[in-house]
């Protein structure tokens, strides 16, 4: 998009490319900021099955919020309640301050991109995209002029006259996106928007989605089960499980500071070890674990001696060496059980003395001529800062 030309599709001032993420770009850090979408104690039951259980969540204007969770965790139900296809059994959804309880889907300032795309098979690309505008009572000339611009934005102009079945999966995905964006919704809901695309296309499309979202300044809520997708797209992620939001945070917070074993295990790979707090001081803490012995950890306030905790250590924060490393890092001994070369890095499974496995990944950036291999005795080391102590 040419930044000089005023774009009629722009509903609000878009953040210029490269602008620093100031406080206004992270409104969730500002307690005074007014949420754009307020989900308050929303519960949805189907018969005696509770799909969404007392969820409260604030989402701010211009966010690209990802609801992340496995199948059946309630993320799609939450999205469908925002679109108006399901009514909350309890609780309230406010959109821009307005209660949505009695607003039917066709009157909501939201649009949805369906997982199956739900393109009208009997209409051309052009007519699919124009559908929403024509329902608003726009004249055909005006509607199709806007459609042409939108097709340009999603790079589909040559396909305007095709029917959906004549398009590839990636093209269909872009038609669905264009159709959902044409009415300039305040909020765009995307249900597994990239789920049907192959890996390579998915990666390209992720950045395309971000580009479009930033160009138009529309608030996006994306439902996905793919953690990579969530990490790439999101300004913030809400991890859902069993109808409950387990943690909300920016991608790096979710990854580096998981709030629970569930989140730590769900996002990426993690080594989890149970143990008891052996020493808790304001500046240092030690946890005794059967698997690793005594481990110096980052201090966590509010923990007492003897309390059961879990240590979460990301595999890439652990170093491997043949010699005992110098310094005060935690060190354990083990034998390499398995090595998997994965191009940019190698994954190791190290068998500890007690039989437990420790997962370690090593970057192949400076892969030496004699890499650590099968059955070698090794020292695994990690600094106290690499550990995260979890209580639930």
């Amino acid at each position: 998009m040419n930044p000089q030309a005023p774009d009629p599709l722009l509903p609000v001032a878009a953040r210029p490319a490269g602008a620093p993420l100031a406080a206004e770009a992270c409104p969730w850090t500002d307690p005074a900021a007014r949420p754009f979408i307020a989900i308050r104690h929303v519960t949805k039951r189907f018969g005696d099955f509770t799909a969404v259980n007392d969820v409260s969540l604030n989402i701010y204007r211009g966010e690209l919020f990802c609801l992340l969770g496995g199948s059946g965790c309630g993320k799609s139900t939450l999205l469908r309640m925002l679109a108006g296809f399901e009514k909350p059994t309890e609780g309230q959804i406010l959109l821009d301050g307005q209660d949505m309880a009695h607003v039917p889907p066709d009157r909501r300032p939201t649009n949805m991109m369906f997982q199956s795309y739900a393109l009208f098979p009997h209409m051309t690309v052009e007519k699919n995209v124009a559908y929403g505008l024509l329902r608003e009572g726009k004249s055909k000339a005006e509607a199709y002029a806007r459609v042409a611009e939108m097709l340009k934005l999603v790079k589909l102009e040559p396909f305007a006259r095709r029917k959906p079945h004549q398009l590839s999966g990636g093209q269909r995905q872009r038609v669905a996106l264009a159709r959902a964006l044409i009415k300039q919704p305040k909020l765009l809901l995307l249900d597994e928007p990239l789920g049907a695309l192959d890996k390579k296309l998915r990666e390209e499309t992720q950045f395309e989605l971000i580009r479009i979202q930033e160009t138009l300044g529309v608030t996006f809520i994306v439902v996905t089960h793919d953690q990579d997708e969530a990490m790439t797209l999101a300004t913030r992620i809400g991890v859902m499980d069993d109808g409950v939001i387990r943690q909300v945070g920016e991608p790096h917070q979710i990854y580096e500071e998981p709030a629970s074993r569930y989140v730590a295990d769900f996002i990426g790979t993690v080594n989890l070890f149970e143990g008891q707090v052996a020493m808790a001081a304001p500046d240092m803490m030690r946890v005794d674990t059967p698997a690793l012995g005594a481990v110096n950890t980052r201090p966590v306030p509010g923990l007492t001696r003897g309390q059961t905790v879990w240590l979460a250590i990301r595999p890439e924060r652990i170093g491997l060496s043949r010699e005992r490393p110098a310094g005060d890092a935690n060190t354990v001994q083990g034998v390499v059980d398995d090595v998997a070369y994965r191009g940019h890095m190698s994954s190791y499974r190290v068998r500890l003395a007690g039989g437990q496995m420790l997962r370690v990944t090593q970057s192949n950036l400076d892969r030496d001529a004699d890499p650590i291999s099968w059955d070698e005795p090794v020292f695994a080391s990690f600094s106290p800062a690499a550990t995260r102590v979890l209580t639930e």
């Binding site: 679109a83 108006g84 296809f85 039917p104 889907p105 066709d106 009157r107 939201t110 649009n111 949805m112 369906f114 199956s116 739900a118 393109l119 009208f120 098979p121 009997h122 559908y131 929403g132 329902r135 608003e136 029917k163 159709r179 959902a180 009415k183």
Partner: protein
């Protein structure tokens, strides 16, 4: 053999010698329906066509032979289009055709208007109810068609159920004349052929993706607008199939107009019957039947070609 090198699976080896003359499995499978069509459709059709070109005579069979030896012993084919010209000239036949098409068309329209909502409702019903409803649609087939049409006489006649009810409720004081009218024929046809409208529509509407309706709703279409812009166009193949299944048999319907219609109800099926069995004019009757067949087949073939072209696009 570079071509064979490229293809991972070599084509089936060509059969040699006498084996070529033996039928393959595929031919055998196709042969059964083909044979059926030949014996029960094509052969009778040609017999009918041949009779329609003959002349009625008092003999057994009551039509002139196709081949005749004249005085010199040369074989001559005797065929004339006289019967077809007769059909064109006599207004009775023209009126009967037009009237049949009209009655069939109006009945089809009503069957569609009644059948569509039923099919839609069944298609949208949850599982146990759906099966029960479908069963109820086909249940009437367990009773003879003739009996069911007779039963309508009990409803429609002067002292029938409908008149008695309306009079006892004080809505009317004179019984309505329903029997022996076109109205009764419409009722009979719509009632009899409704399942043939519902079933193809149901088959079509169950395939309708609910997400499409939600998408239309989400884009600002009310349920009514969604119906006319999404559901209806997508169910067009079902509408066409159902309408054909009602329209075609309704055109040639004989029993319903005979049992429920009056002397004014002119339908080609009845004319055909009278021509064969009353007038015993087999050649004219055959011509009536052939023209009817052409009238019915022509629109189907046209529709089929339109549909094929649409699918190719």
């Amino acid at each position: 053999m570079s071509a064979a090198d490229n293809s991972p699976q070599p084509a089936r080896a060509p059969r040699r010698g006498l084996a070529r003359l033996l039928p393959t499995g595929r031919t055998l499978v196709i042969a059964i329906p083909m044979l059926w069509l030949l014996v029960f459709f094509l052969v009778p059709f040609f017999v009918l066509g041949r009779i329609s070109l003959a002349e009625a005579i008092i003999a057994r069979p009551p039509y002139s032979p196709l081949f005749e030896r004249d005085a010199e012993g040369t074989l001559a084919i005797i065929a004339s289009l006289e019967n077809y010209r007769f059909l064109l000239q006599d207004a009775l036949y023209r009126n009967a055709y037009v009237s049949s098409i009209r009655i069939a068309a109006i009945s089809t329209l009503f069957a569609l208007l009644i059948g569509y909502p039923i099919a839609y409702y069944i298609a949208r019903s949850p599982e146990p109810r759906r099966t029960i409803l479908l069963l109820m649609v086909v249940l009437p087939f367990w009773t003879s068609f003739l009996l069911r049409v007779y039963a309508w006489q009990g409803f429609l006649r002067r002292e029938g159920l409908i008149n008695n009810t309306l009079i006892s409720l004080g809505i009317i004081d004179q019984p309505l004349v329903m029997m022996q009218t076109d109205f009764a024929v419409y009722i009979g046809i719509v009632y009899t052929y409704l399942p043939f409208m519902i079933l193809p529509l149901y088959a079509n509407l169950t395939k309708l993706d609910g997400a499409l309706l939600e998408a239309a709703n989400d884009l600002g279409a009310s349920p009514m607008v969604t119906f006319f812009t999404v559901t209806l166009p997508l169910s067009l193949p079902g509408i066409v199939a159902g309408s054909m299944l009602v329209f075609i048999p309704a055109i040639g319907e004989y029993v319903i107009p005979a049992l429920l219609g009056g002397p004014d109800t002119l339908m080609i099926g009845r004319v055909l019957w009278d021509e064969f069995f009353q007038a015993r004019d087999w050649p004219v009757a055959s011509a009536v039947a052939i023209v009817m067949l052409v009238l019915v087949v022509a629109p189907i073939m046209w529709l089929q070609s339109v549909q094929n072209r649409r699918e190719l696009q």
